[in-house]
Amino acid sequence: RGLAAGPEMHFGFQTVTEEERREKIYRVFETVAKKYDVMNDSMTLGIHRVWKDILMHKMNPCPGTLLLDVAGGTGDIAFRFINYVRSVQQRQLQKKLKHHQNLSWQEIFESYQKDQFKSLGDSQVVVCDINREMLKVGKQKAQYLGYSEGLSWVLGNAEELPFDDDKFDVYTIAFGIRNVTCIDLALQEAYRVLKPGGRFLCLEFSHVSNPLLSRLYDLYSFQVIPVLGEVIAGDWRSYQYLVESIRQFPPQEELKAMIEDAGFLKVDYENLNFGIVAIHSGFKL
């Protein structure tokens, strides 16, 4: 194994080279892509939906926001974003109409016509993922659920985003930054593509400080999850990688420092479920 050059990195609890790590991770997600959502639900007992909803509420996007969802694979965040923006737009429209009490029927008809075409109010979300299989599953899901407007799918690497500078209002990466080879690069790219005033949001598994809970969590992670992986997806190795990579990921404070180093200001994190998951937020000011 000494042929491949490059620094040693971790792949779960194994030590591999950078190139190997990238390949292995690609293969992990290629294999699990079709069962990704099912596994998420069974591993976290459906709580991952709540985490993603909390992320969306924290973002509180208004119509006209441009979102870049990196490692967004199967589109969970993107769909939530579209739903949120749509409902905000509806509420605004209702408020506007309430004030105009004396409109003629013609005017009311026209106002509905105008806004029909902009049910999202110019908001857009770009889903970027390095893995073709995950994007395929995401596109299928979008078609199945009926999401078409304001959504685009791009194949790209988080360390080298195929976008111009100062383009996006919000950059999110949900449960993806763990798999990036070099986190600092990804953070720098995030800084680059965000507009001034733009927001960086990262939803990721993190470290539990409570000792009792930590032990229960470890027990669950190492005993239950790989078994679920084998039973449901037929692949315990990938889920072994998953739980190991969570342990290898930097804890909350360290990630906060890394985000600040990339140039973000007002960096803060919020623990969900005692630290099982944390949302880090920073602004490009």
Partner: protein, 292 residues
Amino acid sequence: VRCQHYEPLRALQASAALRRASDEHKKEPLTSSSQQHFDSPPAGHQPEQEPQGPHPSYTGQGGQESEDYESEEQLQHRILTAALEFVPEHGWTAEAIAEGAKTLGLSVAAAGMFHSDGSELVLHFVSECNTKLSKLLQEEQKLVQLGEAEKKPTDEFLRDAVEARLRMLIPYIEKWPQALSVLLLPRNIPSSLNLLTSMIDDIWHYAGDQSTDFNWYTRRAVLTGIYNTTELVMMQDSSPGFEDTWRFLENRVADAMTMSNTASQVQSTGEAVVQGLMGAAVTVSNAETSRL
């Protein structure tokens, strides 16, 4: 898991929005020096560089860290001030803050720095109003000291001060009930109470109050009551130029003055009664002794 060979570039990057503030001020010396070099400004040419930010940028040699830290707050203030313009349309909400951020050239996501209920916006506005009032009263005091104006009697002074402060609400009067409810949120009560008490304190200070006894509390309580009730009356006043509100204010201040007069009258009457009783007791005891 820090990558050894990818050093963070922070030292080389200045932050995006702050760079603008310092750039604007860098541009000014450049234009003037270029004029000197090329030596051909057309006669009467006005430098078109107008300072775009109302804030001075602290481009000192002091460490980057402290400069950024200071300017984060400044930037937040700038966003909130810009957001006030949109309050009549959107109310005291995160949407107004987002619009304000847009006018400064920032992304709408910058509104995420603040709470989604618009608390900071309301508190910022109240604090700005109090500062304005303070300055107004200070200038008035200066005029009195220079002898250019007469010192107003207390009731007129209080009336004018409260009226001036309440007039600052007029542009936002439609959405002010919403602001009041935001100020009453449990999370905001410490700050809003603080702002209210310091404003009342300010007014009394400029009114010349130097009491060090219980009067200090009574006066502030009374004025707080007057201010709050007048504010509420103003909310549902539809008379032209808010005449009803000012008349209400006048009556309340007059009441307060009468009350304090009555209080001192009661006190002196009480003293007089006590003295009378003492005198009667002395007379009776003298009468008793003289009889014996």
